[in-house]
Amino acid sequence: MNYVLKLIARNTLRHPLRTLLTVLGIVVAITAFGLLRTTVDAWYAGAEASSASRLVVRNKNSLTFPLPLYYGPKIRLIEGVESVSAAQWFAGIYIDKKNFFPQFAVDPHTYFALFPEFVIPPEQMKAFQLDRRGAIAGRKIVEKFGWKLGDQIPLIGTIYPGTWSFVLRGVYTGANSRTDETQFFLHWDNLNETLKKVAPDSANQVGIFLVGLKNAREAPLVAQRIDAQFRNSRAETLTETEKAFQLSFVAMTEAILLVIQAVSFLVIAIIMAVMANTMAMTARERRREYATLKALGFPVRFIAALIIGESLFIACAAGALGTWLIYPAAAYVGRRFGTIFPVFNVSDNTVIMALAATLLVGLVAAAGPALQASTVKVSEGFRAVG
């Protein structure tokens, strides 16, 4: 065993440049694989962070159609409903279009009770509730734009024209790493009062209702009850779990996701081929040595262990480094993505997949050369027919 390890270690460093380049290739491939998987995860981050005890009620025809405000109290009375709040997509521009972050007009008294993952200091929450022009923003955008409590934040309306000015009254942080910290919340009342003056037809309407459940297991039943309540009304509803609601957005870009996933596996396949070529070249060069070992009486498994061990040693060392590099790379890319992917975290699943891919690369690359070196006859290895 000692000699196997000694030979593996020394053989690995026999051609330092070749080993270095192979390691470099695997490091880049594994890091790229991890980044691509993290991008896919980021796409699903909203769905993953969603709560099983929340339902989203929207207009059955389309999300772009609103629901009447008076549906709220009716939903609250439906069996199984614990609480109800409303939200409206605002879509304002902060200075420049590239400074995108999601903005919602919400009910300041009920919305945050439904989202315990948004952690807000009580005094800031109170200040927000008391100020109709107040706003609460996520930690990441506050840091990004250098805002401070009390700052005036101007937003140019796209759906609701005009320049809107809000006062930052609170900053929320995520209760866990999956929480989106890039959202911006304003008073729905503030929006509605303005609409009553400038566009009365659009007043007293909300984009979605958010429903808190008494029992998460009753979600399908409660959803049916809500939709049944408004069947044949002027705005029929479609009620779904928050996860299903989030996944409906992901589904719109499913083709892109499939391409990213395919590329991530293609990267592994390419590096597998590169590594297999390296190991085949190595085994070819050492044909005489393997024949000598066999002649000396070393069993076939010893030869196979040398090749597989070297391949695994290179792959695992490079794979570990590549996997470790996923973290700083994802942090950098996450910052570059900004608010497009508010949650860009390397998941445990990605790390496991990267390490598994590393093992697979090492094993597959060694399989052919190990089999060939093990089965070749000693005399053929020497090419010595006298």
Partner: protein, 238 residues
């Protein structure tokens, strides 16, 4: 006299491009313990093939091949590997040392297949290196040694397990005249002082002159035998 290699009516052929090419035909040969035998013949005459068969790294198509009283043609691949480790010491034309191991480690390598302790392995390897006068080069890698020194390390590796026989395939083929003479002196000395049975394939008449028995092969057939004076009475019979 004790026979160490007994070969009767042994034949071997290879398939080349769909054709059967006979390499050895009806070989009968007996070697005694302590023999120093040179196998000579032109390229393609089958001398290396015969050496490989005796060393158990190739199998005959027919005939009897007994080494130290054991019919090695009955062995499977793994049994044969184990048998080689215990009974055969190899010396190759191009030394075939592991380039990533030092001279000492190369010599110790075959001992890792035995049940010797680490300390015993060290003693055996040191002794073998002493026998070839290379103790001072124990920590050198093959690339730091001359051709003659590498071949001496290879001889130490062949000796270290105290094998029944030593097979040498053109041991001086890659060496200059001076180094070749040193290697042949060493082989001769091992044969005389340790009574090691040595079978050597060579093209070199000067090398063959060191052997007590010279057998010629031509087109896979043993032709003539030349016996030379030797210190002991062992001999080969066909």
């Amino acid at each position: 006299m004790t026979a160490v290699v007994e070969i009767e009516h042994l034949s071997k052929a290879y398939q080349r491009g769909g054709q059967v090419v006979p390499v050895l035909q009806d070989i009968t040969l007996t070697l005694q313990i302590g023999d120093f035998v040179a196998l000579m013949g032109p390229s393609g005459s089958g001398k290396s093939t015969l050496l490989n068969l005796i060393a158990g790294i190739d199998a005959p198509d027919s005939g009897l091949l007994r080494v130290a009283g054991v019919d090695i043609t009955e062995f499977g691949e793994s049994e044969l590997a184990q048998w080689r480790a215990e009974h055969v010491g190899f010396i190759f034309q191009f030394y075939n040392l592991m380039p990533v191991l030092t001279a000492y480690e190369n010599v110790e390598l075959p001992l890792t297949l035995t049940h010797l302790s680490r300390r015993q392995r060290r003693e055996h390897a040191r002794l073998a290196l002493d026998l070839v006068s290379l103790s001072d080069r124990a920590d050198h890698y093959p690339s730091q040694l001359s051709g003659g020194q590498q071949q001496r390390v290879a001889i130490a590796r062949a000796l270290v397990t105290d094998p029944t026989l030593i097979v040498a395939d053109e041991p001086t083929g890659d060496l200059d005249r001076v180094s070749a003479r040193e290697i042949l002196d060493l082989l001769e000395s091992l044969n005389e002082s340790l009574r090691k049975t040595i079978i050597m394939v060579t093209h070199d008449h000067l090398a063959a002159e060191r052997a007590h028995i010279v057998r010629h092969l031509d087109k896979g057939v043993l032709t003539e035998q030349v016996d030379r004076p030797r210190p002991r009475g062992a001999g080969a019979t066909a």
